[in-house]
Subunit: 195 residues, 2 copies
């Protein structure tokens, strides 16, 4: 660990903010960096080791095919031609594009569904942390495409769900908080119970 | 960022594993370190900035009161005296003990509940990451106490939910993976759609 101070490490993580598609450019994370990021996702607390998530990378050569899926989904939602074209273009967002796939288990009494969703959230958090530490910017995007059955079935096995997309690339500018991060009651002390 | 390499930073995070109550001792994280950890939790992706979580710390002086709550909850579940005593003792686990409180919003169409749970999961992930980087061990525990109405009401405002407990302290030994982390299909490449 050389001379790393805890403050250095925390500062590195605390500087991570979402980077949108217009704030990033090539190069995309290398396959090895994507693999490292996916590995760090496995460090999310995962009661009973259910691994309720996996990631699927969409290669540049497949972006056009994904665009057609997005366009058809937009048509099914009744959008007009301009909006359908915008949906098609979204498949080209980000030098790298990952699908986050959820594989939730309803038959495990000890791990309720919300805990499995928390595990997926922790996994995505660490995927983003790793990409950030490796010098990339990234953002989770969901939107209506993930709820479309044809899009889902193009990525998911039966029983799986399409959770979100993660776009990643090289940031072109520094980013910062989009929301006010002052939260008065973020950490308080328990006052106990009434006598 | 001095001489930190991405590999150093990733390695520091990748070495985080859950540390159970029997694998930790005093000192607890300082109030300032707990505050830093809670702040890092705010870096979780949080669509629309809903802040669906907060943390409540249980001071040493309040552990006995919490133990009585746990004991009454165990009695309500019909447990025998030995199990009730064990439930009471669990309130003393960990040099530090935090309640994770969820404040989920069902009235926000753009952010479905599972995305809010993912935000809470990402927040807890970063709380654990920060405590680890600061030299502490920690673990998320839930169990049946969080589902008890009296325990919940002692921590939560109306509409909030008691999600889990986080115990934290100084690790007494090195920890490692409890589950096999080889996941064959963790990251695959999209094969596209059938022609």
């Amino acid at each position: 660990m050389n001379d790393l101070t805890p403050e250095d490490l925390l500062a590195a993580l605390a500087g991570r903010y979402s980077v949108g598609p217009k704030q990033m450019e090539a190069p995309a994370p290398t396959p090895e960096h994507l693999r490292l990021a996916a590995q760090l996702a496995l460090r999310a607390p995962d009661h009973l080791g259910l691994h309720p998530f996996r990631f699927v990378s969409v290669a540049p050569a497949q972006r056009a095919a994904l665009g057609e899926l997005f366009a058809r989904a937009a048509q099914r939602r009744g959008l007009d031609d301009t909006e359908v074209a915008a949906a098609r273009r979204r498949a080209h967002n980000g030098p790298a594009l990952l699908a986050v796939i959820g594989r939730l288990r309803e038959d495990v009494d000890d791990v309720p569904m919300h805990e499995q969703w928390m595990c997926i959230g922790g996994a995505v958090m660490n995927l983003l942390n790793a990409l950030h530490l490796l010098g990339y910017g990234a953002k989770v995007v969901s939107g209506l495409s993930v709820r479309d059955a044809e899009v889902r079935d193009a990525f998911c096995a039966p029983g799986e769900v399409l959770v979100a997309w993660v776009i990643a690339g090289t940031p072109t500018r520094s980013t910062r908080a989009r929301h006010d991060e002052r939260v008065d009651d973020l950490l308080t002390e328990w006052l106990g119970i009434e006598p």
